[in-house]
Symmetry: C2
Subunit: 440 residues, 2 copies
Amino acid sequence: MGGLRIVDMSVRDIRFPTSDDLGGSDAMNAAPDYSASYLRLATDRAGLYGCGFTFTIGRGADIVTRMVEQLAAGLTGRRVDDMVDFMAGLLHDLTQDSFLRWLGPEKGVTHLAAAAVLNAVWDLWARAQEVPLWRLLVELEPEELVGCLALRHLEDALSADEAVSILRRRRLGRDERLAHLRRSGYPGYITSAGWLGYSDAEVRRRVTQALGDGWEAFKLKVGQDLDSDLRRTRMVRDLIGTDRRLMVDANQVWEVHEAIEWVNALAEVGLYWIEEPTSPDDILGHAAIARAVAPVLVATGEHAHNRVMFKQFLASGAIGVCQIDSCRLASVNENVSVLLMAEKFGVPVCPHGGGVGLCELVQHLSIFDYIAVSASLENRWIEYVDHLHEMFVAPVRVVGGRYQLPDRPGFSAELSAEAIQKFEYPSGTVWRAREPAAHE
Amino acid sequence: MGGLRIVDMSVRDIRFPTSDDLGGSDAMNAAPDYSASYLRLATDRAGLYGCGFTFTIGRGADIVTRMVEQLAAGLTGRRVDDMVDFMAGLLHDLTQDSFLRWLGPEKGVTHLAAAAVLNAVWDLWARAQEVPLWRLLVELEPEELVGCLALRHLEDALSADEAVSILRRRRLGRDERLAHLRRSGYPGYITSAGWLGYSDAEVRRRVTQALGDGWEAFKLKVGQDLDSDLRRTRMVRDLIGTDRRLMVDANQVWEVHEAIEWVNALAEVGLYWIEEPTSPDDILGHAAIARAVAPVLVATGEHAHNRVMFKQFLASGAIGVCQIDSCRLASVNENVSVLLMAEKFGVPVCPHGGGVGLCELVQHLSIFDYIAVSASLENRWIEYVDHLHEMFVAPVRVVGGRYQLPDRPGFSAELSAEAIQKFEYPSGTVWRAREPAAHE
């Protein structure tokens, strides 16, 4: 990458009118318009660039986009090899800057924006190496990768030395694991059959179709009404039989005692996990729920705002399933720290997918996790939602309910030119054709 | 307030060049320019308006200001009595809106902005009643006040009924407590003698002066260098003698084990509390530190982003001192929830002061706490920092190290016209006279 420089950047607010058909609706989010604050870093080598984004659900995306602009502004003119050689320094600048830290620290708008910027830098790095991101991660020397990680305030759970040891130990057998993924793919589970806004008939139709497509694990949104939840979980269980997995997701709507009562009322149906039962900040609450609803596992993470939250969820036994998100945590730098902690505490990682391009990003992290960290596929699935993949230049390929290895260079984060032209907000052709008020 | 309406609003980015003299410097924040995203709500009654703000430290304040604009936009045209009658609904709109929740939830930029908006509404309510905010709170019926509070996701620690009971029980003796405050004021402690960027000579000069002014409790910034911290804490202890209190503040710089080692190394000096020893998100880390450094107490809260974090800090024994902040929590609505939880768990509340106008706001909360919630002044002080008070129309009055009861209607949140004219960013006279780059 000798001498390669960032010479230009663009930041765009891209919004998809997903609220039109209630795809993505759940107990907390009635009518989201899935959005991406999308950054493209151009270099002085023709055809070499990096793309990254963070995911939001509509209104407020302009604020995040503006923060991405501010964070990325300092990258223009920088040498790419300096940036990746001093990835920890870049991470520090983006997340530990004292001014922006006051607005977090490491949470909310500032951290979402840091994720977008770092996602673009990792995409660029992998493209410059002409490998998919998962392969870049697998091939970095353990010390080199650990040097890129967000480890501050983790020492009581994971030191840099421990991180290196885990990665070094897992070199054994990695070729076999890679060969296995090439043959069989990485297992997924499907959420898009069970959005809360769908009618029973629509859920039935979608679950039946997903069964035909080969899916083995299904997630249903719950939390609005216990009778309705019981009816729908029973319906899905009847459709999928006793051998397939059924998970439910309450999107944070319950108090701790409500979560316990509700989940225990649903448990007869045979639930594998309850996701986001209460406030995503409530580590002790999740721990209390986990004790009271076992053997149903508690899952959370899509709103866990940084590695310090994951450290506590993992170390305290509050979660039995760890759900990372490449657009809320600070990209690879922070997600790999969480993968390593999850391995240390023996908790499987099942990433948050869906949204805009979350499946595209997190597949790289799960593939890396299997090859280089956990060495296990047991009780591990990548979430799958069946919308918006067509907006990407290199969409996920899922066959028979299993993610196929991405082989194109980069982090699979690039939106197509057509998607940008249609859905940039508010100037894209789709938005210009609408009443502005309809989606405000 | 019959028929009174919000007819106009203005939102301004106000920044003070505090980095010029390193006032406000600490181990995490080397050169802050203290800033306020400042909202003024005008009504259709001449001379009646409400002011509120949230506090940041410079760069990034424009992002927060823009978020305040978005949140406040919906208030124009609303009836004031509807807003205060349905304060819980307003709180819900500002903090539980699903779009903005995705950017938090209830943390970072969106929550800082919600604090600014709610601070302005409370200021307006108190002005409309022609009483200082503390008196409005004391005089509301317990059920009415509890109806205004942020209680979601707290039920395992504080139900609405418990909140009402605490307030009802504390009616006994409140006239005597009010009379005591009128006579003697509310105790404060002083931070502005011990900023990290000051020389030893400057700290000595300021501590000596503060002693002469009657202060009984002093806080020093630590965490950059142990030898320097030891030298400075010993110097201050020698100056203040053994009977006065000495607290130290590390502003989050340590790992958990570093905090334990460092505080135990300093403890010989006689420390009352260690503030922000590590990541403000690390509840379990604070609990481990608290166990290992006792009898030194652990204090935190200025970066605890919402009531769910305080619930855990309080319920787990992780903090011995609870530090609320009226610009990070969602104003009175959320702070009173925390005061009530702190009372339940027996932890004294010592609010975060300093910044821009934090002393002005939190004095109302501590006065209310003493009269109506805790009924105690033991081990309780409001932080005091000696800058920027002159920017306010009704600055705090501190005599002999004690806050005097504010008596003007409202929440003491109004900046003077002169302050706005000079320090609005970047159009104010002070900023126009500078090189733009100097503070970017």
